[in-house]
C-alpha cells in the first residue's frame, strides 16, 4: 500500500499516544477502512516505537523506577492475579513489555547478590517461567502477550514475517526463472554487505510513462511499512551500501511506503510494495 505523505501523516496523527493494544488497532482499522490491517499495524508499531523512543528516558530515572516498583508491589499485594503491571504500563504510557523488563530488573537487583546480566533477563522475558517469583512471572507474561509492539513475542512474529516474505520473494524469483545468490551464499563468498538477493543476470523494470527502464541488480525484502525514519536508516546502513557495491537495485516494502520516499530511482534505488510485474530480461537473441 503506497501512501502519500499526507495520507501517512493523517494516520500518524491518529496514533498519538494510543496504547499499543489490540483495541487500539481495531479502532484504527475502523477509522481507515481502505488500508490493510498489516499496513496499519506496521505504521502503528513504528509510530509507537518512535513515541517510546522519545519518552524512554523519563521512565528510566531511578525515581520513576522506584515508584513503579512500589506501585507494582502494592498492587500485587492487593490482588496478585490482576493485571497490575499491564495496567501500570498503560497508565504511565509505556510499553508493557518494557515495563515488565524494568520491574524484572529491579526485582532481581533486590533479590540477588549480583546485578542480573542482560542475557539472563532476556531469557526470563522469553520464558517467564524461569522467573523465580511466580506472581511476577505471571505479571510479566500478561505484559508480553498483550504488547503488540515490543517484547520477545512481537520480535518473534516480526522475524517470522520477515522470513516469510523472503521465502515468498525467493519463490517468485524461481517462478520467474531469475537466477540469484541469496544472503547465505553471499556471506559464504565473503561479501561485506549482503542484500537478500543478488540477481546473477540483472533485469530491467519498466515504469509506465517512462522511456527507460530501471536496472535491478539486487532485491531487498522489507516486511514493514517504509516510513521516513526507517527508510533513511535503511538507506544509510543498507541500501546505499548495496548500491556502492552492486549497482542499482530494488527494495520491496511489502506493507507499503510513503510515495515521496521513492525519489532515488534515477540514482538506482527503486521502491516497490510488491514484486514488479513488468520486468524485462536479457533476451535470447538480441540482434
Amino acid at each position: 500500500m503506497i501512501l502519500t505523505k499526507a495520507q501517512y501523516d493523517e494516520i500518524a496523527q491518529c496514533l498519538v499516544s494510543v496504547p499499543p493494544t489490540r483495541q487500539s488497532l481495531r479502532k484504527l482499522k475502523q477509522r481507515f477502512p481502505s488500508q490493510s490491517q498489516a499496513t496499519l499495524l506496521s505504521i502503528f508499531s513504528q509510530e509507537y516505537q518512535k513515541h517510546i523512543k522519545r519518552t524512554h528516558a523519563k521512565h528510566h530515572t531511578s525515581e520513576a523506577i522506584e515508584s513503579y516498583y512500589q506501585r507494582y508491589l502494592n498492587g500485587v499485594v492487593k490482588n496478585g492475579a490482576a493485571p497490575v503491571l499491564l495496567d501500570l504500563a498503560n497508565e504511565v504510557d509505556y510499553a508493557p513489555s518494557l515495563m515488565a523488563r524494568l520491574i524484572l530488573e529491579k526485582f532481581l537487583q533486590e533479590h540477588e547478590e549480583t546485578p542480573p546480566s542482560k542475557s539472563v533477563i532476556n531469557s526470563m522475558l522469553r520464558d517467564p517461567s524461569q522467573i523465580p517469583d511466580g506472581v511476577l512471572a505471571n505479571q510479566v507474561y500478561q505484559c508480553i502477550v498483550n504488547d503488540c509492539c515490543y517484547g520477545p513475542l512481537v520480535d518473534c512474529i516480526k522475524h517470522a514475517i520477515g522470513h516469510e516474505h523472503e521465502v515468498l520473494l525467493r519463490d517468485l524469483l524461481l517462478e520467474k526463472n531469475l537466477s540469484f545468490l541469496d544472503e547465505d551464499q553471499l556471506r559464504a563468498k565473503g561479501y561485506d554487505k549482503t542484500p537478500d538477493f543478488i540477481l546473477q543476470v540483472p533485469v530491467v523494470m519498466l515504469c509506465p510513462l517512462a522511456v527507460e527502464g530501471h536496472i535491478i541488480h539486487w532485491i531487498e525484502s522489507k516486511a514493514s511499512f517504509g516510513d521516513e525514519c526507517s527508510h533513511h536508516a535503511y538507506l544509510h546502513d543498507q541500501f546505499w551500501s548495496y548500491w556502492n557495491r552492486f549497482g542499482p537495485g530494488l527494495v520491496i516494502y511489502w506493507y507499503g511506503f510513503i510515495q515521496e520516499l521513492d525519489c532515488n530511482r534515477e540514482r538506482g534505488i527503486l521502491l516497490k510494495a510488491c514484486f514488479p510485474m513488468n520486468i524485462v530480461t536479457l533476451c535470447h537473441s538480441i540482434a
Binding site: E212, W240, S241, G247, R267, C283, H284, I286
Partner: protein, 1163 residues
C-alpha cells in the same frame, strides 16, 4: 626579420628559398611543401647575410600577422595569442606608438574555471614572461609585465545574436566574438592605450570562457572575469627564459638590437609628427546593444583586394611554415586564419592613409591587410594550401566551411573540394553526455576478507567505501550549486575517512577503488563523465551504441556545450574529474598520494604496453575494416584511459612543486635544479617515450605523455631528464609533416592528433615558450631507430575524428567560430546544403523495437557490472572474432557461389555473343544487377553463423563453474555482438564486395578469352603504379612481408612477367646462388614460398622444369651453411618429386618465340 620579409616582397628571394632557409635552421630535412626552384646565388647571398636572424623568423612572422590583422580587425573575434614576441620591428608604421614586447601566450589561457584550489593557482598565474629568443630586454625592461593585461580579450561574452541569427541555436553564439570596439578594453594589439603608457602591455587573450546567455551586451565588463594575470616584477627575468639576453647576447641578437634601435628612433620621430596615437573610433564600436544593430558585416569582394601579389607571397610563406610544422600550434594558426576569413568589418585607423602609392604597397610599410577583402583573400590563400587538414575536420566544420559564401566567392575551386569532402565525410563527431555515475562493483576475488590483514582493516575498508560514495553522491547533488564549496562541504569528512586508513594495505585497497571509479566516470569526452561501463566502455559502443547514444546526443544538443576555453585552453579537470582532483586536494594525505601515484604508474605501464592491435587485422583490403572498427574502439578506450591516468599522475606528482609564487631565478633556481635533478621521476616517462617512438607507437604514448607533462611545474622543463623529453617531442613534432604520406609513414589522422596535442602542450604556460623556437633542431630529420618495426600502431588507422575531437575538444573551436559567423550574419542562417539525417541504418529485417533494443543494450551492459572483468573480455573477444570470421565465411560461401554463377553466366553470354563477348563494363553491369540482390541473404546467413558459432566459443572459454544463467546470458550477448558487428559490416559492404569479386571474375574470364588491347593498357598502368610501391629491400631482417602479402607480391610479379614484359625475362637469375642465398638469412626460412614460386614459374610457362632443375643443380655446388644446404636439398627433392605435368607445346613456344610486341619493335 623585417628585412627577410621585405626581400621576399621585393621578390629578391623566392618563397621556397625562404622556407628552406628557415627550415634548415631547424632541421635538415628537405622542404616538401613547396616546389623547389633552383637556388639562385643572389637569393642565397641575400639570405645568408641574415643568417643570425633565422631562428626569429617564424615568431616574427606570426606576430607580424597578428599585428597586421589587429590593425584592421579590432572588430573581429579575438585573435589567437601570438607566438612569443619576436621582433616587431616594422619600419614606418604611421603613428604607431612604440610597443613593448609582446608576450602573448599568457593570453591563451583565460581562467576558465574559478581556480579556488591551490593546485590550479599556478595555472591562473599565466605570466607573459615569455618572449622569443633574446628579445624583451631591450624593450625598456618591461619584459615581464605584458601578461598582466587583465583587460585582454574575454570570451564571447559581449555579443548578442545579430540579425536573424537563429535563436534556436544557442550553442552557436557561444564563441561569438565579443564586441571589441571598446578600444579601451580591447586595445588593438600593438597599441598602447592612451594614457596608459606606464601600464602593463595590453595584449590579446584568446577568448572564450564559457558564456551564458545572461551575459548581455550591456554589461561587457562582466566578461572580464580574468584578474590581472601575473604580477611578476618587471625587473625579474623569467626563470624559464634561458635565452641569453643581457650582456651575453650572441652576435645575431646584437645586430637585431641595432635594427631595433633604428626602428625605435624612427618611431619616436613619427610619434612626434602625429601625437595622437591610434585611438578608437567610438562610433564604430559601442558595446551597447542598441547600437550593435548597425554592425552589418562588410561584404568581401575579390575584386577589391589591394595587393594580391604581396598577400599571396606572405600567405605562401606562412602556409609553408605551417606545413613544415615550424609553427608551434597548427590549430591555433588555423583558428587565426578562420578569424580572418570571418572578419566582420574593419575599423579604419585615423592615421592610416587610404591613398597609398603602389610603391608603398609592395613593402611592409603599408599595412598588410588594408581591408576585409585583403583578410579574406589571405585566409583563403592559406586555406587552399591546407585543404588536406581541412578535409579531415569533422563533418560539421566542413559543412560550415563549404557553406561559407566568402570562401565560395574567393575560391570556388576550394569550395568545391570542401563540398565534396563534406559529402564524402562520415566524420560525425559527438561528445555525448554520459549517464550518472555508477559504483565500482564488489569483486570477491579482490575485496573479500581474505584480502585484508585483519577483521578491522576489512571493516574499515567497508566503511570507507560507503563514505567515499556518500561523498561522491553529495558532490553530484551539490557541486553545481552556486556557493557550494568542496572543501567546506566534504573536506573534513574526507580527511576523517583517510585518517582511518592505518594499514598500508588498506591504502592500496582504497586507491584501487579510487582509480577504478575515476576510470569509470571520467573516461569519456571532455572528462565530463563517462560511460557507466568502467574500464572498457566498448560493449556499449559495440552494442546498440546508437540506440543508447541517441538519447545522450539529444541531451547534449539541448544543453549548452561546454566551451573548452578557446583554441588553447589550459589543462583543466572538467566534469567529474573535478571531484577526483578536489578529493585529492582535500584529503591532502601524503600516504594516499604516494599509493595513488604507484597505482597510476602501474596502470599506465600496463595499458601503454598493451598489445595493440590485439588481433592482427587481416590484410585483405576488403574486410579489413570490419576488424579495424573493433581495433579502433579498443585503441580509443586505451588511449583515453591512459590520458586520464597520466593527467592525474602528473597532477599528483608535481603537486608539491607547484605554487602560486613566480618561478625561481638565479642562484635559487640553481639550487632548486640541483635538488630536483637528483629526484627520480615518478614514472620513467622518457624511456617509455623512447620505446614508444622506436616501436612506432607514438600515437599511443605521446598523447598521454602530453597530459602528464601539462601539469609539470616551471622547473620541470629545465631538468635535464625532462629537457630530453621535450627535445624528443619537438623533433617528433617537426617530423610530422602532414603532406608526406607514403607507405610506412604515420597515418594522417594519427599525425593530426599528435600535432594537436603537441601544439597544445607547447602553449602550456609552464612550458617555456622559447623552447619551441630556441631548440636547435636536430641536425638531421627525426628518424626513429632503424631497428624499428616496419609497422606499428602509428601506421594503423587507429585515430578517427571522434577520437581526435575527444582528445582535443579545442579543435571544435574552429567550428564554433564558423558557426558564429553564420549566426551573426543576416540572411545566412540557412546553408545551401541539405541536412541529411539518417535516422538509423536499416540493417536486419525484423528488429525488435527501438525501446526494447535500448533496454537490451542497457541490460547487456549491466550484466557485466557485477561479473569478473574476465567474463566481459571473453565475451568481447568471442564476438570480435566470430564477427570477423562471419564476414570471411560469407565471402567464402555466398560470395564465392555468386562468383561461380557469374562465371557461368558470363560463359553463356560469351557463347551467345560470340568470341568478342562485348563491352566488359556492360557485362559487369548486367551480372551485378542479377547477382547483387542475392547479397541480401548475407545478413540472414551471417546471423545464422554467429548464432551457431558464438555460444560454443563462449562456453569453451569460461570457467566451468560459471552459473548456468550467467553462461547463457554471456552466450546470448556474444551472439548479439557478433551478429551486430558482422551484419553492420555486411549490410554496408556486401554489394561492393560482390561487385568487386564479380569484376575480378569477369576480367579473369575475359583475359582467358584473349587479351583486349584496352585491358592491356590498363594493366600496364597498373604495373607502373605497382613498380612505385615495390619496397627497396634492405637487409631482410628489416623488411618482413606478411605471409599473405608475400604470396600476393609473388602473384603480381608472376603476372607482370607473364603479361606485361615485352621482352624475355632472365628468370634464371632468380635462382642464382646470390639470390637464393638471401633466403639463408631469414628465419623462419620461407621454403614454401620458394616452392610456390617454382611451381608457378612452371605453371605459368615462364620457365621450364628442366631449366629449374638445372638451376637447382648448380645451387648445390655453392657453399652454404650446413642446415641451409640440407633444407635446400629437401626443397629440390620435393620439387623434383612432383609429377611432371605434360607441358603444353604452346607455352614452350611462347617462351622462345618473340611475341608480338618484340616483333613490332624490331620492325
Amino acid at each position: 626579420m623585417a628585412a627577410v620579409l621585405e626581400s621576399l616582397l621585393r621578390e629578391e628571394v623566392s618563397v621556397a628559398a625562404v622556407v628552406r632557409w628557415i627550415a634548415r635552421s631547424t632541421q635538415g630535412s628537405e622542404v616538401t611543401a613547396l616546389t623547389r626552384p633552383q637556388d639562385n646565388a643572389g637569393e642565397a647571398a641575400a639570405l645568408s647575410s641574415l643568417r643570425p636572424l633565422r631562428k626569429e623568423f617564424v615568431p616574427f612572422l606570426l606576430n607580424f600577422l597578428r599585428e597586421q590583422s589587429s590593425r584592421v580587425l579590432p572588430q573581429g573575434p579575438p585573435t589567437p595569442a601570438k607566438a612569443p614576441g619576436a621582433s616587431t620591428a616594422l619600419p614606418g608604421r604611421p603613428g604607431g606608438p612604440p610597443r613593448g614586447s609582446r608576450g602573448a601566450r599568457s593570453q591563451l589561457f583565460p581562467p576558465t574555471e574559478a581556480l579556488s584550489t591551490t593546485a590550479e593557482a599556478p595555472l591562473a598565474r599565466r605570466g607573459g614572461r615569455r618572449r622569443g629568443p633574446g628579445l624583451a630586454r631591450e624593450r625598456g625592461g618591461r619584459g615581464l609585465e605584458e601578461g598582466v593585461s587583465g583587460e585582454s580579450l574575454p570570451g564571447a561574452g559581449g555579443r548578442r545574436l545579430r540579425g536573424s541569427g537563429s535563436p534556436s541555436r544557442p550553442s552557436l553564439t557561444l564563441s561569438d566574438p565579443p564586441n571589441l570596439s571598446n578600444l579601451e578594453e580591447f586595445p588593438p594589439v600593438g597599441s598602447v592605450p592612451p594614457g596608459s603608457t606606464g601600464r602593463t602591455k595590453p595584449s590579446r587573450r584568446i577568448n572564450p570562457t564559457p558564456v551564458s546567455e545572461e551575459r548581455s551586451l550591456s554589461k561587457p565588463k562582466t566578461c572580464f572575469t580574468s584578474p590581472p594575470i601575473s604580477c611578476v616584477p618587471s625587473s625579474q627575468p623569467s626563470a624559464l627564459d634561458t635565452s641569453p639576453w643581457g650582456l651575453g647576447l650572441p652576435p645575431g641578437c646584437r645586430s637585431l638590437q641595432e635594427e631595433r634601435e633604428m626602428l625605435r628612433k624612427e618611431r619616436s620621430k613619427q610619434l612626434q609628427q602625429s601625437p595622437t596615437p591610434i585611438c578608437p573610433t567610438p562610433e564604430l564600436g559601442s558595446p551597447l546593444p542598441s547600437q550593435t544593430g548597425s554592425l552589418t558585416d562588410e561584404p568581401a569582394d575579390p575584386a577589391r583586394v589591394s595587393s594580391r601579389q604581396r598577400l599571396e607571397l606572405v600567405a605562401l610563406v606562412y602556409s609553408s611554415c605551417i606545413a613544415e610544422n615550424l609553427v608551434p600550434n597548427l590549430f591555433l594558426e588555423l583558428f587565426f586564419v578562420f578569424q580572418l576569413l570571418t572578419a566582420r568589418r574593419m575599423v579604419t585607423a585615423k592615421d592610416s592613409d587610404p591613398e597609398l602609392s603602389p610603391a608603398v604597397l609592395d613593402s611592409l610599410e603599408s599595412p598588410l591587410f588594408q581591408s576585409i577583402h585583403d583578410c579574406v583573400f589571405f585566409a583563403v590563400q592559406v586555406l587552399e594550401c591546407h585543404f588536406q587538414v581541412l578535409s579531415n575536420l569533422d563533418k560539421g566544420t566542413l559543412k560550415l566551411l563549404a557553406e561559407n559564401e566568402r570562401l565560395l566567392c574567393f575560391s570556388p575551386a576550394l569550395q568545391g573540394r570542401l563540398r565534396a569532402a563534406y559529402e564524402g565525410s562520415v566524420a560525425k563527431v559527438s561528445l555525448a553526455m554520459p549517464p550518472s555515475a555508477q559504483a565500482v562493483s564488489f569483486q570477491p576475488e579482490t575485496d573479500n576478507r581474505a584480502n585484508f590483514s585483519s577483521d578491522r582493516a576489512f571493516h574499515t575498508f567497508k566503511k570507507q567505501r560507503d563514505v567515499f560514495y556518500e561523498v561522491l553522491r553529495e558532490w553530484e547533488d551539490h557541486h553545481e550549486e552556486p556557493g557550494w564549496d568542496f572543501e567546506k562541504g566534504l573536506g573534513s569528512r574526507i580527511r576523517a575517512m583517510m585518517g582511518q586508513l592505518s594499514a598500508a594495505c588498506s591504502h592500496s585497497h582504497f586507491v584501487r577503488l579510487f582509480q577504478k571509479q575515476l576510470l569509470q566516470m571520467c573516461q569519456s569526452p571532455g572528462g565530463a563523465g563517462g560511460t557507466v561501463l568502467g574500464e572498457a566502455p566498448d560493449v556499449l559502443s559495440m552494442l546498440g551504441a546508437d540506440k543508447l547514444g541517441r538519447l545522450w546526443r539529444l541531451q547534449e544538443r539541448l544543453m549548452a556545450p561546454q566551451s573548452s576555453g578557446g583554441p588553447c585552453p589550459p589543462p583543466t579537470f572538467p566534469g567529474c574529474q573535478g571531484f577526483f582532483r578536489d578529493f585529492i586536494l582535500s584529503a591532502s594525505s601524503f600516504q594516499f598520494n604516494q599509493h595513488l601515484m604507484d597505482s597510476l604508474s602501474l596502470k599506465i605501464r600496463e595499458l601503454n604496453g598493451l598489445a595493440l592491435p590485439q588481433h592482427e587485422p587481416s590484410d585483405e583490403d576488403g574486410e579489413s575494416d570490419v576488424d579495424w572498427q573493433g581495433e579502433r574502439k579498443q585503441f580509443a578506450v586505451v588511449l583515453l584511459s591512459l590520458r586520464l591516468l597520466a593527467k592525474f599522475l602528473g597532477f599528483v606528482a608535481f603537486l608539491p612543486y607547484r605554487g602560486p609564487e613566480p618561478p625561481p631565478t638565479g642562484e635559487l633556481q640553481d639550487s632548486i635544479l640541483a635538488l630536483r635533478s637528483q629526484v627520480p621521476p615518478v614514472l620513467d616517462v622518457r624511456t617509455l617515450l623512447q620505446r614508444g617512438l622506436q616501436a612506432r607507437r607514438a600515437v599511443l604514448t605521446v598523447p598521454w605523455l602530453v597530459e602528464f607533462l601539462s601539469f609539470a611545474d616551471h622547473v620541470v622543463p629545465l631538468l635535464e631528464y625532462y629537457r630530453g623529453i621535450f627535445t624528443l617531442l619537438l623533433r617528433l613534432h617537426r617530423s610530422l609533416v602532414l603532406s608526406q604520406e607514403s607507405e610506412g609513414k604515420m597515418c594522417f589522422l594519427n599525425k593530426l592528433l599528435l600535432l594537436a596535442v603537441l601544439g597544445w602542450l607547447f602553449q602550456i604556460p609552464t612550458v617555456p615558450e622559447d623552447l619551441f623556437f630556441l631548440e636547435e633542431g636536430p641536425s638531421d630529420a627525426f628518424e626513429v631507430d632503424t631497428v624499428a618495426p616496419e609497422h606499428g600502431l602509428d601506421n594503423a588507422p587507429v585515430v578517427d575524428q571522434q577520437l581526435l575531437y575527444t582528445c582535443c575538444p579545442y579543435i571544435g573551436e574552429l567550428r564554433k567560430l564558423l558557426a558564429s559567423w553564420v549566426s551573426g550574419s543576416s540572411g545566412r542562417s540557412g546553408g545551401f546544403m541539405r541536412k541529411i539525417t539518417p535516422t538509423t541504418t536499416t540493417s536486419l529485417g525484423a528488429q525488435p523495437s527501438q525501446t526494447s533494443q535500448g533496454l537490451q543494450a542497457q541490460l547487456a551492459q549491466a550484466f557485466f557490472h557485477n561479473q569478473p572483468p574476465s567474463l566481459r573480455r571473453t565475451v568481447e573477444f568471442v564476438a570480435e572474432r566470430i564477427g570477423s570470421n562471419c564476414v570471411k565465411h560469407i565471402k567464402a560461401t555466398l560470395v564465392a557461389d555468386l562468383v561461380r554463377q557469374a562465371e557461368s553466366l558470363l560463359q553463356e553470354q560469351l557463347v551467345t555473343q560470340g568470341e568478342e563477348g562485348g563491352d566488359p563494363a556492360q557485362l559487369l553491369e548486367i551480372l551485378c544487377s542479377q547477382l547483387c540482390p542475392h547479397g541480401a541473404q548475407a545478413l540472414a546467413l551471417g546471423q545464422e553463423f554467429c548464432q551457431r558459432k558464438s555460444p560454443g566459443a563462449v562456453r569453451a572459454l569460461l570457467p566451468e563453474e560459471t552459473p548456468a544463467a550467467v553462461l547463457s546470458s554471456a552466450e546470448n550477448i556474444a551472439v548479439g555482438l557478433a551478429t551486430e558487428k558482422a551484419c553492420a559490416w555486411l549490410s554496408a559492404n556486401i554489394t561492393a564486395l560482390i561487385r568487386r569479386e564479380v569484376k575480378a571474375a569477369v576480367s579473369r574470364t575475359l583475359r582467358a578469352q584473349g587479351p583486349e588491347p584496352a585491358a592491356r593498357g590498363e594493366r600496364r598502368g597498373c604495373s607502373r603504379a605497382f613498380a612505385d610501391q615495390i619496397p627497396i629491400l634492405g637487409p631482410p631482417a628489416q623488411y618482413r612481408l606478411e605471409r599473405g602479402q608475400a604470396r600476393r607480391l609473388l602473384h603480381m610479379l608472376l603476372s607482370l612477367w607473364k603479361e606485361d614484359f615485352q621482352g624475355p625475362v632472365p628468370l634464371q637469375l632468380l635462382l642464382s646462388p646470390r639470390n637464393v642465398g638471401l633466403l639463408a638469412d631469414t628465419r623462419p626460412r620461407e621454403w614454401d614460398l620458394l616452392l610456390f614460386l617454382l611451381r608457378e614459374l612452371v605453371e605459368k610457362g615462364l620457365m621450364r622444369r628442366m631449366e629449374i632443375e638445372a638451376c637447382l643443380g648448380s645451387l648445390h655446388q655453392a657453399q652454404w651453411p650446413g642446415d641451409f644446404a640440407e633444407e635446400l636439398a629437401t626443397l629440390s627433392n620435393l620439387f623434383l618429386a612432383e609429377p611432371h605435368l605434360p607441358e603444353p607445346q604452346l607455352r614452350a613456344c611462347e617462351l622462345v618465340q618473340p611475341n608480338r610486341g618484340t616483333v613490332l619493335a624490331q620492325s
